[in-house]
Symmetry: C2
Subunit: 363 residues, 2 copies
């Protein structure tokens, strides 16, 4: 166990945005909200997954919506508290701890707000090891853990409690409700016992976020390359570099969808890389080959500062580096790929692990 | 108090479809479901509104969706039970009685199914004295009684519990959820104390339904006009008669919307009447004048049999009579008209009580 203070949030939010693969919410807003909560309520205990008792009750906290909207519609602060109260009242017992459901600028930091306000410890883990756009896309689904009861709260004072026969139905009901809520809402989901969580979660995600964030800042201070620092901490690969050209982005059915084209420079001169996204980056490809695809992580960093660039902050003319980071091994199982593989997202090519794609390209 | 048996349901469903003003669900399906429940579980107690204790807990039961879909997607039977269980578990107390939220072929009879299955008495009242398409359109809204907690259950096993800041928000969330549920779902709503109900509800609706249904059957047996019989029991007016011509009908955002044109016959020869509907008939008008509008009841009866015709059973060539029936007085207050007056439905003319319109036309 260690205490997380407001001072830690800069590094955590920065590293989380790297694992957020373009989604998971705006890191700046997420950081500010968490820092404010930590300053007001005091530090939050970060617990290792092993510190949980088997019958503890853990409820992840998150924000749901289209990043294009979330960036302009900042939570009031009490939405997540109302979502948690509704969950506790429905389950008839107290929540032991909270955690992130995904890594991402906002969704790694959001749970700190509720942990601080409710005096709950926060588990050093998440349900993806990255960010994904849909609710059922968590390692808990691989273990058939239900997303429900699932509570949603909006900024107006409305709450919803959902109970569904599977996690795809949770996604459907929650998504349409979030659209009615103005395309962003706070939620409590996947209530789990300590025993379930130990088996189902991706451990150590918050610590990893902080290590990544710290490496970027350190490299900066030392005049080193922040890109190299991220690659070292994450075991990732440099896939492409260049300048952002055309961007198509639209908010569809509660998601931010679109694509961006990068004109290569340096060793990628005369090549072109297309990034496709649904809240998160899904596929990076050149005219010749797929460079990386879900469930592996595709992260876009500012070529100079190493700052992660989200799908809603992509701008024409930005000089960027495209990084690939291997995903958690559980996503590479047949059940994992059926949930988040390229074919689930409508692509007709099979999943090939990032490391193999890199190797093939280097031959 | 009196007992309602399967034998009463024919008359109740028939009369309810008259008050259903074209909506409120298919009377045939509603009747069959209620009869089956009453045969299996035994008769249901029909309680006068005055028999309630002030602290009784009454929860209306209903079906929600587009009539065009409901006619083909028959409830499994346990949806409404699950909606009630979810409501009781959330409120942490037992429900004393149930009732209809609206008069209508299905929504007058649906509560008998749940009353029979759960052994609850049914209150002789409803929240409209007719049918309306949206959740907030009940006399309880005039008294600022909340529609929530509000539970929805579908045929697949999914349930939703909604808590909103006002009843318009309940309508929004429930409607989008019902669309995801396949355009029809069962629900429990407007949990009320006996004290609230006595002030807010329209009393005697089930008895009135039965009187209307009985009058139609009696007239039939006696070789009398069923139309005259309905007019006598309801205090209504004959507004138009003729043959149905063009019908436009589409399922939009979970509603059945459209219009039908009637070519006049008899004393209306060479005139034409247009009926506009959103689940229920909203406006009846000729080229010259509005004949009747919400909140007054517009009911279409088969000219020969006196059977009510719902918006989804309108067919080219049917010979029909258009009846107008004065609505409950509470709908004619400023607050009532703001909820269900013609202007709420997008029409630019002011509400004129049916009786005045009839008088003006006769001059």
């Amino acid at each position: 166990m260690r205490l997380i203070t407001a001072d830690d949030m800069e590094e955590i939010a920065l590293g989380a945005a790297v694992l957020g693969t373009g989604g998971g919410g705006d890191p700046y807003i997420g950081k500010l909200l968490a820092i404010e909560a930590l300053r007001r309520h005091g530090p939050v205990q970060l617990l290792d997954i092993d510190a949980l008792d088997d019958d503890d009750l853990i409820v992840p906290a998150a924000m749901m919506g289209a990043p294009t909207v979330m960036i302009e519609k900042i939570p009031q602060g009490d939405e997540i508290i109302r979502a948690f109260r509704e969950m506790e009242s429905y389950l008839g017992r107290s929540i032991t701890a909270t955690m992130s459901i995904e890594a991402g600028g906002l969704n790694s930091t959001t749970p700190f707000s509720v942990a601080a306000a409710l005096g709950l410890p926060l588990i050093d883990a998440d349900g993806m090891g990255r960010a994904f756009p849909e609710i059922q896309m968590v390692t808990m689904s691989i273990d058939d853990i239900s997303a429900t009861p699932f509570t949603l709260a909006d900024d107006k004072g409305n709450t919803l409690l959902i109970n569904t026969v599977d996690n795809l139905w949770t996604e459907r009901f929650a998504r349409t409700a979030v659209i009615e809520m103005g395309c962003s809402a706070m939620l409590a989901c996947f209530p789990m016992t300590g025993r379930q969580l130990k088996q189902a979660a991706v451990p150590g995600t918050i610590s990893l976020c902080q290590r990544i964030g710290r490496a970027i800042r350190q490299a900066h201070n030392d005049g080193q390359s922040p890109i190299e620092a991220v690659l070292e901490v994450t075991g990732g690969y440099r896939l492409f570099g260049g300048k952002i050209g055309d961007i198509q982005r639209r908010t569809v059915r509660g998601f931010t969808r679109g694509q961006a084209v990068i004109a290569g420079s340096g060793r990628w001169t005369n090549q072109q890389c297309t990034l496709q996204f649904q809240n998160e980056f899904l596929v990076a490809q050149t005219e010749r080959a797929v460079l990386a695809s879900v469930p592996d992580l595709i992260t876009i960093l500012d070529a100079e500062t190493g700052e992660p660039i989200t799908t809603e902050s992509l701008r024409y003319g930005f000089r960027v580096e495209v990084l690939g980071i291997p995903c958690n091994e559980r996503w590479r199982t047949p059940k994992g790929l059926s949930l988040v593989g390229p074919q689930y997202f409508g692509y007709d090519f099979p999943y090939v692990p990032l490391e193999e794609r890199v190797q093939q390209r280097e031959q």
